[in-house]
């Protein structure tokens, strides 16, 4: 759940980086290896976030219906379906398994 404080904190962090990029950083002078690291950082974080949001609960390994839901999402994404289809399929799969189980 997002709160005012969280949204303002995220906005400052995101715009701060955009502004620093636009006004301070000379893209040509950034070593290309470090550019690649900054480029790969979001992917690393998001992959870890996806994994933990799928198989953990409150810091403990928890396998439940979410795993099937996110699995279906991966399948949809690999078929290049739009994001809302992917999300709906994941929610429907998870909810169905819970209702049956």
């Amino acid at each position: 759940m997002l709160t005012w404080m969280v949204v303002v904190a995220l906005a400052i962090g995101v715009y701060g980086q955009r502004l620093a990029g636009a006004l301070l950083v000379d893209a040509d002078r950034l070593p290309s290896r470090w550019r690649r690291v900054l480029d790969a950082l979001p992917l690393a974080i998001i992959s870890a976030v996806v994994a933990l949001a799928t198989i953990s609960d409150d810091g403990e390994l928890t396998l439940d219906a979410r795993l099937a839901g996110v699995g279906v999402a991966a399948l949809c994404a690999s078929r290049k379906l739009p994001m809302f289809v992917t999300v709906l399929a994941a929610a429907a799969t998870t909810a169905t398994i819970r209702a049956v189980g």
């Binding site: 995101v14 955009r18 990029g21 690291v37 790969a40 992917l43 690393a44 933990l52 403990e60 998870t94």
Partner: protein, 227 residues
Amino acid sequence: MATVREWLFPTGTELTSGESLTIGLTYFTVGLTVAVLHVTDGTAPWVMIASVFIVNSVTPTLAYAAVTASGGSTAAGVLSGWLVSTRFGLFAAAIAPRLWRSKTKRAIAAHASFDPNVALAMREKDDDDARRVYLATSLWLCIPWWIGGIIGTLIGSGLSDPGALGLDAVFPAALIAIIWPQLAKADLRVIAATAVVIAIALLEATPGGVPVLAAAGAALLALRRGR
């Protein structure tokens, strides 16, 4: 009217109306989807609408929601949100020198830096064309995404029993949709897999949030030569 038309359809550039429409439609549905997710997750409508305009991006809020939903602290969630937006700084750095000389204009333009508009503007050979394409694609992207976010907030507030909707699976599902195209590159797949292994290995041994932040270290694999 003629000016607005020129803003949206810059003549004599590489930008096609098909590309513009695709961006508009994609970001409209993304804004709609993400706003519905956050609002059914308990986010207050005005907070959601403010987020659409001032954060002006979906990955940071999705990352925050996914981290906190699985037990991470608020601070860990915010830090994850900041770290997933490093690419916007790089985009802004890449496009800024080709836009206006004025720092105020550059500062405003930076708020709209996303993946597709920067990429399409950079494709132009001439700086003047790059600036016109950046303006056009930013409008084609931001306006549908803002409208989608507002409509999604309204739809989300109207849903009655979000608990039954399998909502805990939707944040990781939305993030998978965002990162999937990057997984086509082998070296990026290695980085993603390493991050997952680090996060799972540390899950039960460290406090909430630490596994995700430690997994950021997987990005250092990009220091290796190649690509």
